[in-house]
Symmetry: C2
Subunit: 449 residues, 2 copies
């Protein structure tokens, strides 16, 4: 079943428009083809609608663990053979895991697409895990956690912040997993996750490059079409946040912190299917408050007009299945305390909520966003990622295509409304990340007063 | 199978020793009989080893919801008939749900035990829930939440504190449930929980009063023995906390707060099977720091020797399956800020860690604990609760019996060691609960500095 939607990605006038075609196999596997005939290469990706936030309680890290194990032997491939074959064919391959998805990809010459599908479809349901694989690869992911998290004070601080941000939702659990749970991950944990979630009706095939939709659909039917749908695939469900009624604050102290900073993370809406407008406004808000240091509201007030901070920025990632975060970070200058930096940050935010948005800044950002949406079309692998991420995070191809126009339609009033809604301290975690505890005022009493 | 352990509860010399006999039915149901022949009454309880912390993610409140639904119709009892029958027989009945257990009990004349077992065993596997029951009772539990939580600022604050206390464990989710999840609880949610957990191999029968073990075991075989064990009962498993690396703080502001206070909750070990010593030391610590206001360390320093606080107390509940909390609460006097109160509290704790424990105070507490353990034996219903709670929270009858001696064996050094381990700010949540935001210092800048 090939739905011939041949959509132009940008209706606002792009230099190079990409043709995007979507289809669905009989077993429920979605197919997205992005044609780009400028070079005889192809990116072949399989995205699963499952990530760390879909893990069972107590088995954190299993989604990422399974991602590693997917490079082990299958009925027909030896341990490591898939990657070796890709390399031998002049290509490269990798995989990644996030809260909402797990994805596998290869970039190869276009005439090797057949071989890629053969191998990728094979490991969708023929993985053969041994206890040796488990023991070995568990050590690998633990070492990965050691390097990326345990040895990185900012990563450790971020874990504690996200755990405090989410009272109920599993975005509060790190993708890599809590160490004590990673150490207990078993073959059965991996297989349970694999058997339930790695199935064509939970997967999206994205092929981008020098291919035609008919050619991709024919190959997809041949290789992925033979795999039966998983009948027990559950409806995707995530516990939602209850009302957050009190700002949380935390001090993360670690002598390895190189530069102290205060960071505040607010719970914020994500891009929702058919309702991306608030997320689009938050993209502007992030740029307005914390984009380039010379012109952003926080950058100008804290690093340019004053010497309070060496850095002031804002961040928002709207692509998520469930509520995401909007963050503001300020790193104070030498001699300025975190408390002073935070007070200055809050005074700047309060002033912004009173003054509103500078019209010139707003138009500059709108133009930049238009340009970056156009430039994004040049990167076919980036586009493939964009579709894979969108379709595993509750959006449709139409949502992806509507996004550039929605971004362009945002008004300053939309941004201010979003700012007033999101900059709610009850939904926030404010963290001081620092090398040593701040000097606290002397106790006011010594036993009596 | 009747194990004839006829244990004396107190080896430290009790006025009235109770005979406690334990047994197990063939289907795995544990039986505890506490003989007390002083009056012709009996307390009949069934405790299930399941509570709110065993709920599936997203279905918070279902354990308590099911507790309500257990009073609906079965194959042989009409809706409400069980309670009506208990009342008609001059008895009283009720039920309660906690994180680790759900329990049902009746207190009646001893010759009605047969009838109680007949009805209680009936609803263990013959419950017949209608959609009407669900709709009605869901409104009841929502109303219960409205009364106990939504209309109670201290309860709301506590929810937010516990959600911040636990980064991974489900003790961070309220027993009553998050409102948005309670509203979605379905008949299937209740039945899934019922079918899996309400089975004899997950239950403990506690009968206390004017009965003999042989009589109880015979009746138990007759009524509960006919129910087959649940073959799919999972091993009890709870996600554990990762290292807590940063103190969390929160301000809960609610105009309905009658008296502002600062409260700090530390993650603390619970009474563990075969290892109750640290928990016993924490019972002392709680009394030493925050027992009676005139003699406790915090009470004396903050309310007696000074006018900083109108209240200073400490709390520790060691009976839990997993890590519990140790809390300290200080309510400042008129004109004293929460910040000042907290600083005074911390100065007092620091001084305590330096000075150690007053020997006279320690001995007074030891004597009080001995007395209260002895007096506890007079309350047969309290004893029944004690065994039921212990056996659903990972302890054994032997642990319960050892507890008074373990309490008496605690030394001041044990308490100081426990204090140093538990009073770790990284494991803590500090909350300001207040009617209005505290006045904050003026911002240090107004755009430039």
């Amino acid at each position: 079943m090939l739905r011939s939607l041949l959509a132009l990605l940008l209706t606002t006038g792009a230099a190079a428009a990409q043709q995007v075609t979507t289809g669905t196999l009989d077993n429920g596997m979605q197919v997205v083809v992005i044609e780009d005939h400028r070079a005889p290469v192809v990116v072949h990706m399989v995205w699963y609608r499952t990530g760390s936030a879909d893990e069972p309680a107590g088995a954190s890290g299993v989604a990422h663990f399974l991602e590693h194990l997917m490079f082990k032997a299958t009925d027909t491939l030896a341990d490591g053979e898939l990657s070796a074959t890709v390399t031998a064919n002049g290509g490269s391959d990798n995989a990644f895991t996030s809260y909402d998805y797990t994805a596998y990809f290869q970039r190869v010459a276009a005439d090797r697409l057949d071989l890629m599908m053969q191998m990728e479809s094979d490991r969708m349901n023929n993985l053969r895990l041994t206890e040796d694989d488990i023991a070995t690869e568990r050590q690998v992911i633990i070492e990965e956690r050691n390097q990326r998290t345990e040895n990185n004070p900012n990563a450790l601080a971020r874990e504690q912040i996200l755990a405090a941000q989410y009272l109920n939702h599993r975005y509060g659990t790190p993708v890599i997993g809590w160490l004590h749970e990673m150490q207990e991950l078993s073959r059965q944990d991996a297989l349970d996750f694999y058997d339930l979630y790695y199935s064509p009706n939970n997967a999206i095939l994205v092929v981008a490059g020098d291919v035609t939709p008919d050619q991709v659909m024919a190959l997809a039917e041949q290789y992925y079409g033979r795999i039966p749908a998983e009948p027990h695939l559950p409806e995707r469900f995530r516990p939602e946040e209850p009302p957050q009624r009190a700002e949380r604050r935390l001090d993360y102290v670690d002598p390895r912190v190189g530069q102290d900073y205060v960071t505040r993370s607010y719970l914020a809406p994500e891009r929702d299917h058919g309702a991306q407008e608030t997320a689009a406004a938050l993209v502007y808000l992030s740029e307005i408050l914390g984009g380039s240091s010379a012109t952003s509201v926080l950058g100008r007030a804290l690093t340019f007009d004053s010497d309070i901070a060496v850095y002031a920025g804002a961040g928002y990632e709207g692509m998520a299945l469930d509520d995401t975060t909007f963050t503001i970070t300020v790193a104070p200058s030498e001699g300025v305390s975190l408390e002073e930096a935070e007070r200055a940050m809050d005074a700047t935010l309060a002033q912004f909520l009173t003054d509103g948005i500078d019209a010139g800044q707003f138009e500059r950002i709108r133009t930049q966003l238009r340009a970056s949406e156009i430039y994004a079309l040049d990167n076919v692998e980036g586009l493939a990622n964009r579709y894979g991420a969108a379709l595993t995070q509750g959006l449709t191809v139409e949502d992806v295509e509507a996004w550039p126009d929605i971004l362009q339609a945002v008004t300053p009033e939309d941004v201010m409304a979003a700012a007033r809604a999101v900059l709610n301290r009850n939904n926030a975690v404010t963290a001081y990340v620092m090398a040593a505890p701040e000097a606290t005022p002397e106790p006011m009493m010594d036993g009596r007063n």
